[in-house]
Amino acid sequence: MFLAADRVSYTYNRRTGVEPVNAVCDVSVRIQRGSLTGLIGPNGCGKTTLLKLLAGVLAPDSGLVALDGRDLAGMSRRTVARRVAVVPQETHPAFEYSVIEMALMGRHPHLGPFQLEGPDDLAIAYEALAATGTAQLAERSYMTLSGGEKQRVVIASALTQTPEVLLLDEPTASLDLGFQIEIGLLLRRLNQERSATMVMATHDLNLAASLCDTLVLMRNGRVLASGNTREVLTSAMVRQLYDVEADVRVHELAGHLTVVPLGRIG
């Protein structure tokens, strides 16, 4: 197994004991190399925490996360960051970095403490911008971009890390329909053409159904089900996850499962 969490648990505020929150409880997931896995579940179900555990940004209280069979806990932050990149939900820098500066920050784990990026690093950053269709924005200030452009630049910055695994936290959450589709197509292209391994947390069941070959369904910090998208994404499962009655079927034109919510139960 390429990236695997084995019975991991994580509790916020465990150290202080003030209002501890069990975010992730005894969770095991297995991510295949080259797969595109969707992480689905209601707000507060532990998706973001699980992503941070998979990225090694948080260390599990118990259990372990392994990349290629090696425990992340035994690796330095830099070593992990060379292989695993994260695209957070939103990125708000405190200063007016240019787009190319944002992208080049992805080279951080590859550079020594006093090393400045060279022509090769610059080429990697420009290629990442080109792959996300943002090369023409390179000299613009990141803050002046639209939400969709910003998200694509952040994805480019993650690609500049030249990672083996890309972890995305609701990459389309604040985007309009057009940008949602654009980001979706970009992710599929990166996954298919460059065989990038991706894990994407999302609230958008239709996006997940159209992109992901595998789904992990979470509720209350635990995994309810995981497996092939067409097998696990059922109306029974949607009911169990969200307390929502939904019609789940393969759309004739789209060619993938679609979820139409019909109403809330109870």
């Binding site: 505020n13 150290r15 202080t16 003030v18 990225a55 940004v57 330095s76 932050r77 830099r78 992990v80 960051a81 060379r82 990149a85 994260v86 957070p88 990125t91 708000h92 820098p93 405190a94 200063f95 007016e96 970095y97 240019s98 190319i100 500066e101 944002m102 920050m105 992805g106 951080h108 784990p109 550079l111 403490p113 006093f114 400045l116 990026e117 060279g118 022509p119 610059l122 080429a123 990697i124 420009y126 290629e127 990442a128 080109a130 792959a131 996300t132 269709g133 090369a135 390179a138 993650a158 690609l159 890390q161 030249t162 990672p163 083996e164 890309l166 970009l186 990166l190 460059r194 990038a196």
Partner: protein, 353 residues
């Protein structure tokens, strides 16, 4: 490995862009430019004053030093003051850069977290109650202000790390602001017990003064400044990522807890070195970083060294103004920096909103 080919999103070949200047070129140009400015300012500032002197005569080795009035004025009367300006200007400016990045707040200053209030209280206690106190060769006011700065730093650090080992920036800001006003209240209370002469000394100390009176105080502050700058050298690329966000920094390979600790302590040490030497000279830590960013962009690998050099030049120039603008009367340099910094600060706020 996700490898990338050289085609654009729509499949057209990517024209490899020619970047006008690499980071290496920009860094070299910045250091050369600001370095020349700093050296020129420090060399020329001692020549100006109520008694005009000539650099050629001051440096003329054929005249014995005890007969060379120009050399005596240059090296004994004016150079320590100029070098103090350079040291204080560069430490406060860089401390400002580091705090702003670490707190993700462009309006933070070296004094935001209470270091200077702690130093002021320390100085005040010695000025008011320490009449008979001596520490042998060590001058008591700088030593006390250093102790006050250290106590304030330790207090804020303890508050911000109580809930785990990572620094919470919001708690840091809150603790700093609270400590600042609390310590100011204690300073007022201490002042209540002071006589007129003590209050005069205390107020002059708080205004900030670079007339350090010789090389000894400079040499006492220098080790702290060197320690701070050595720590700063490790920081710049982590500061870029910290200013983007903690999670983003961690995901790009920064050890966030370690980088924040390094940033907090290096900037606190730098501030303490500056304040114990010359009192809390305001606005340098915010005016210089912002001017530098307007000139060279926001990359901390360039902003940090540029601010160190420009901060030195800026404070030496402000002090030159303070010495000459109302000559023979000297204006406290803190008043000059406030006169320039206040409006600049307001302009920044207005521009932001």
């Amino acid at each position: 490995m996700i490898t990338l080919d050289s085609t654009d999103a729509d499949g057209t070949p990517l024209k490899r862009r020619v970047v006008s200047s690499s980071i290496r070129g920009r860094l070299a140009a910045t250091i050369a430019g600001f370095g020349t400015l700093a050296i020129a300012t420090c060399a020329l500032a001692p020549l100006v004053g109520t008694t005009p002197i000539s650099l050629a005569r001051a440096l003329d080795p054929s005249i014995p030093f005890d007969q060379n009035v120009d050399a005596q004025i240059f090296f004994v009367a004016r150079l320590p003051r100029v070098l103090a300006g350079a040291l204080v200007g560069s430490t406060l400016a860089t401390a400002g850069v580091v705090f702003q990045a670490m707190l993700r707040n462009p309006l933070a200053t070296p004094f935001t977290l209470g270091v200077s209030a702690g130093a002021s209280l320390g100085a005040m206690l010695v000025i008011v109650f320490g009449g008979v106190l001596t520490l042998g060769p060590i001058s008591t006011v700088p030593a006390a202000s250093l102790a006050g700065a250290a106590a304030a730093t330790a207090m804020v650090y303890w508050l911000a790390t109580r809930h785990g080992h990572a620094l919470s920036t919001s708690v840091l800001l809150l603790a700093g602001v609270t400590l600042n006003s609390f310590l100011s209240a204690i300073i007022m209370f201490v002042q209540y017990f002071a006589d007129f002469a003590q209050i005069y000394r205390a107020v002059r100390w708080i205004m900030g003064d670079l007339d350090v009176g010789g090389f000894d105080p400079l040499l006492a502050s220098l080790p702290l400044a060197i320690v701070a700058f050595a720590m700063f050298a490790l920081l710049p690329s982590s500061l870029n990522l910290l200013s983007v966000g903690k999670d983003a920094a961690a995901a790009r390979g920064v050890d966030v807890a370690r980088a924040q600790r390094l940033a907090f302590f290096s900037a606190s040490v730098a501030t303490a070195a500056a304040v114990s030497l010359a009192g809390p000279i305001g606005f340098i830590g915010i005016v210089v970083p912002h001017l530098v960013r307007l000139l060279v962009g926001v990359d901390h690998r360039i902003v940090l060294p540029a601010s160190a050099l420009f901060g030195a030049a800026f404070l030496v120039a402000c002090d030159l103004l303070a010495r000459t603008i109302l000559a023979p009367v000297e204006v406290p340099v803190g008043v000059v920096t406030a006169m320039i910094g206040g409006p600049f600060f307001l302009w920044l706020l207005v521009r932001k909103s």
